[in-house]
């Protein structure tokens, strides 16, 4: 396979695999990411798929995409615009043409560009002409007929043959990026160990694509991306849902506790339940409840009985759980509620991402009902914030809501595997059996957390529940007692601020503009700010992971900037929260509600506009 000298080195590149939801694009993208990671590139991925498992074939609504951004420096986002688009049908071009960089490469299966498919995608003629892609590097490969030819002697049914089309396309991309096929080949050997003929067919299709790309040379120049400069250690690829599940396992191990998860399947949160259900080897008790309410109520029961209790959901499920979260507030039991946010309201856009559950998490309950709210900001740091959510719940005897989102849940990135011995222990506050009678609402003077008495412990028998109580645990409707307890519960949550890190500024400590984000938008914001800084703008950024309470230096950080621009994927929920907590600052908003993450470009444009208005 002698390659010619036309090799181009690039810092980073964005590739988008796109096809019908049955075309196997998620797998193709994942296999490519794994190979890139093993090659040493840093990367971030973004799967983008339709809510319907099988939307009408060939239509734009049924297009499933998987975007990979890889490079030799730190990669913070899945990238805005694609350098390379792989389109398995005309609808994939229709859905993605605008997201390809000027002059980028588009590989498509020309066998699939039949009159019928063009019509389904909404084209009347040649998509290349209609989308004005003539100046792009267009590679019209006869993928369908090539795999048919390559596999004609395999004796496979036509369906199985066509299922390898994605591997042909992947082979072409591997050649384009000068990647070895062996990791993907090993994957097939393992996955189809029981069906060697299928493994072989996929490998043949993969190689056929690779050689085809080499032969036609239409793809040249070959793009080389050097391995990234990343910290030494052992790495793996991880997505946000798996990282969240593992963060809870880490917390359970560090607290020396059993873990219980009670959940009801809901997109895009189900992966956490699935991962924990598979971890019976680590003693996880997973319970697929009959509904969202039973999910949290079973978890609350498990918490009462002394387990680290978790429930996972998305926006609509969080709404259903709100009464039980109030019960957790009142009973002062530790529990973590994960909300993997998706586009809302109502059923909304189940497979798309949004950050619009923030106010629901903060305030969506009856009565004065404060809870701790955290948000993760990258797929891998879901591990850290799941651990943190559990730590705070256990040490402060409070419900904690952890917000992630669809983009974090399904996106993945390489993650340096931590050693468990480097993760701090968690110390739950168990009740002391020497203090009898036990008073359930007696508090730790420092944190104001009550003590946890586990059923089965002799002498600590007690009753708690949703009715207001006195310190001794007696039901009470007395006005002063109620106000006292309301204040205790609020102050307990506020005091968590003493046990969380301060917010860190990326950029100068003071300046014209501070971009303030939270949770999953971090990568886009940081990338935009770094580019703005390189261009000479006085812009800094903070990205919040601790939402309630806020880090204790927040106000002093804000006070050093002329304007705070709050960027989030909603109409301004965090901005309105900040305005209510710190009313004295000048706030601007950068908002987007399209079910998609920000792009770096749009953040930059908005920041420049704000700066020019200063």
């Amino acid at each position: 396979m002698g390659k010619d000298t036309r090799v181009v080195s690039k810092e980073e590149v964005v590739i988008r695999f796109s096809g019908d939801s049955g075309d196997g694009m998620q797998l193709t993208g994942t296999l490519f990411s794994d190979t890139a990671a093993l090659y040493g590139n840093d990367l971030t991925t973004f799967p983008d798929y339709p809510a319907e498992i099988r939307a009408p074939q060939g239509t734009v609504g049924g297009v499933s995409g998987f975007q990979v951004h890889l490079g030799h420096s730190e990669i913070e986002t899945p990238g805005d615009y694609a350098d390379v688009l792989v389109a398995m049908n005309p609808a994939a071009i229709k859905a993605n043409a605008a997201m390809v960089k000027q002059g980028g490469t588009i590989i498509y299966d020309k066998d699939n560009f039949t009159e019928k498919n063009l019509e389904k995608a909404g084209y009347t003629g040649d998509p290349v002409a209609e989308e004005k892609l003539e100046t792009y590097n267009i590679i019209a490969a006869p993928i369908t007929s090539m795999v048919k030819e390559a596999l004609k002697n395999f004796g496979l049914d036509p369906k199985s043959v066509l299922r390898t089309k994605n591997m042909f396309a992947l082979g072409m991309v591997y050649w384009l990026f000068d990647r070895k096929l062996k990791y993907t080949e090993q994957f097939f050997d393992k996955k189809f160990a029981q069906k060697p003929e299928i493994a072989e067919a996929n490998k043949v299709a993969l190689r056929a694509g690779y050689y085809y790309a080499e032969t036609i040379e239409a793809l040249t120049p070959v793009i080389k991306i050097q391995p990234a400069q990343i910290a030494p250690g052992t790495y793996r690829n991880i997505n946000g849902n798996t990282a969240t599940a593992w963060g809870f396992l880490a917390a359970a191990e560090k607290a020396g506790m059993n873990i219980f998860i009670g959940s009801y399947p809901i997109t895009p949160a189900t992966g956490i339940l699935e991962e924990l259900a598979a971890r019976k080897d680590l003693g996880v008790k997973s319970f697929q409840a009959e509904d969202e309410i039973a999910g949290i109520c079973s978890a609350l029961g498990a918490s009462f009985a002394g387990n680290l209790a978790i429930t996972t959901t998305s926006g609509p499920g969080l709404a259903l759980k709100s009464e039980a979260i109030g019960l957790a507030v009142m009973a002062e039991l530790p529990i973590v509620i994960v909300d993997v946010q998706r586009g809302g309201p109502s059923t909304g856009l189940p497979t798309k991402t949004e950050q619009a559950d923030l106010l629901q998490a903060l305030y969506g309950r009856n009565g004065e009902s404060p809870v701790v709210v955290l948000a993760a900001s990258t797929p891998a740091d879901c591990f850290k914030y799941a651990y943190e959510a559990a730590r705070i719940a256990l040490e402060h005897m409070t419900p904690v809501i952890l917000l992630t989102d669809g983009y974090l849940a399904n996106g993945s990135e390489p993650w340096r595997i931590p050693d468990m011995k480097d993760i701090p222990d968690i110390t739950p506050q168990f009740a002391d059996t020497s203090e009898i009678p036990f008073h359930p609402y007696k508090r730790n003077c420092d944190t104001l957390a009550r003590y946890w008495a586990i059923p089965g412990t002799p002498g600590l028998e007690h009753r708690i529940g949703g009715l207001e109580k006195t310190v001794k645990g007696t039901v009470s409707y007395l006005p002063d007692n109620h106000e006292l307890m309301v204040n205790f519960r609020a102050e307990k949550v506020a005091r968590v601020a003493a046990k969380i890190p301060e917010i860190k500024i990326v950029g100068e400590d003071s300046g014209d503009l501070l971009l303030a984000g939270w949770g999953g938008s971090r990568g886009y914001l940081i990338t935009a700010v770094k580019e703005l800084q390189n261009e000479g703008y006085k812009v800094s950024i903070v990205n919040f992971n601790y939402i309630n309470p806020l880090p204790k230096n927040t106000e002093s950080v804000f006070s050093r900037f002329k304007t705070i621009a709050v960027a989030e994927l909603n109409l301004g929920q965090f901005a309105s929260y900040l305005r209510s907590v710190f009313p004295g600052f000048r706030y601007e908003q950068i908002n987007k509600v399209k079910g998609m993450p920000f792009t770096t470009v749009e953040i930059k444009e908005k920041c420049i506009k704000i700066l020019e208005g200063n």
Binding site: G233, E253, S298, L300, N307, L327, P418, R463, I464
Partner: protein
């Protein structure tokens, strides 16, 4: 067996320091007494008992028990109790609920707890009315009942608790009357010993909003003729004179008089609570006055796998065989690579 500790309790050991606040004359008082009596006889250490409730008059119950207790939210006690039992299968978990709490707002959780056969004892206080909200009809109110929300009579068919339990694949169903502390105590003890979900329907009287609703069958003057107390292995005989019994005629139960039409004691059905086929239990649970006597006692008690036990077993088996013993093992499993 010298290590076996015996626990000597009296019912008083299970009374909490809280003043009982049910209305004077309410059937709940008698249920509380019977439960405290049963618990004192079970030989289980007090700290192992957990009482979980939802919302409603009966759901105040845990406050009056000197055990662990969790007063939950409306309808969700089955789900909370499920979590408690799964988290710690060593506990003796009791759910206190009512006809509204278990069968209206909590209907979903109730049937699924029964279906899963979680080892929880569910005492369902059935007074066929909403008491705490002051007198609205419930899912067990007889059709036509006039209440504040059915001023012209309900137009809904009521649930039958036993029918629902059998339909949800329940394996233990018993019925008792609030005032019958002796029978109730026996039933609670049997329910506690049964592995799996036990549902005990208590015909309970609300003195304020539905007074006397069960009187037709529970009144002293005629209860012997209008109820039958079923005992496993004994013939289904009832009546003040012990002269009435149940037989099968075709596919239906029939009340007969011993000594009439050549009927002798040996023609009478013998109660087998352990029969897995629920057909006869279903008919017994559904008997209504005046065509039949209302069945009391343990109607169905069939052994089977419990959710909590199967889960523990599954975890133990998987742990034995898995290479992943701690989180470091998991973190480093699968595809990883080193960067130097």
């Amino acid at each position: 067996m010298t290590e076996l500790q015996t626990y000597q309790y009296t019912p008083k050991d299970f009374k909490s320091d809280q003043e009982v606040r049910w209305c004077p004359g309410c059937g709940d008082h008698a249920v509380l007494n019977a439960v405290q009596k049963a618990l004192s006889e079970l030989g289980i250490p007090r700290e192992k008992f957990v009482f979980i409730s939802g919302i409603g008059c009966s759901s105040r119950f845990p406050y009056y028990m000197n055990t662990y207790g969790f007063h939950g939210i409306h309808g969700r006690a089955s789900a909370i109790a499920t979590g408690v039992k799964i988290a710690n299968p060593e506990l003796s978990v009791w759910q206190i609920t009512g006809d509204g709490d278990a069968l209206a707002i909590g209907g979903n959780h109730f049937i699924h707890a029964v279906r899963r056969n979680i080892d929880v004892n569910i005492i369902l206080f059935n007074n066929e009315i909403y008491g705490l909200t002051k007198g609205q009809y419930s899912p067990t109110s007889e059709k036509g009942l006039v209440t504040k929300t059915s001023p012209f009579g309900t137009i809904e068919e009521p649930f039958s608790v036993g029918e629902l339990v059998v339909g949800a694949k329940g394996r233990f169903f018993a019925r008792t009357v609030d005032a019958n502390v002796t029978l109730s105590t026996q039933i609670y003890i049997q329910a506690a010993k049964h592995k799996g979900t036990s549902v005990i329907e208590v015909l309970q009287n609300c003195v304020i909003f539905n007074d006397g609703i069960h009187d037709t069958v529970t009144n002293k003057d005629f209860r012997d003729d209008r109820t039958i107390t079923l005992k496993h292995g004994e013939p289904m005989i009832f009546g003040k004179e012990n002269d009435k019994g149940l037989i099968l005629e075709g596919l239906k139960l029939k009340v007969v008089k011993i000594g009439e039409n050549d009927i002798t004691r040996k023609d009478i059905l013998v109660h087998d609570a352990s029969e897995p086929n629920p057909g006869l239990h279903y008919m017994l649970a559904n008997m209504r006055y005046p065509n039949y006597p209302v069945a009391l006692g343990v109607i169905r008690s069939v052994e089977g796998n419990t959710y909590d036990n199967d889960l523990t077993e599954q975890i133990n088996n998987i742990r034995k065989d898995s290479k992943i013993k701690c989180l470091n093992d998991l973190l480093n499993s699968g595809s990883t690579w080193k960067v130097k």
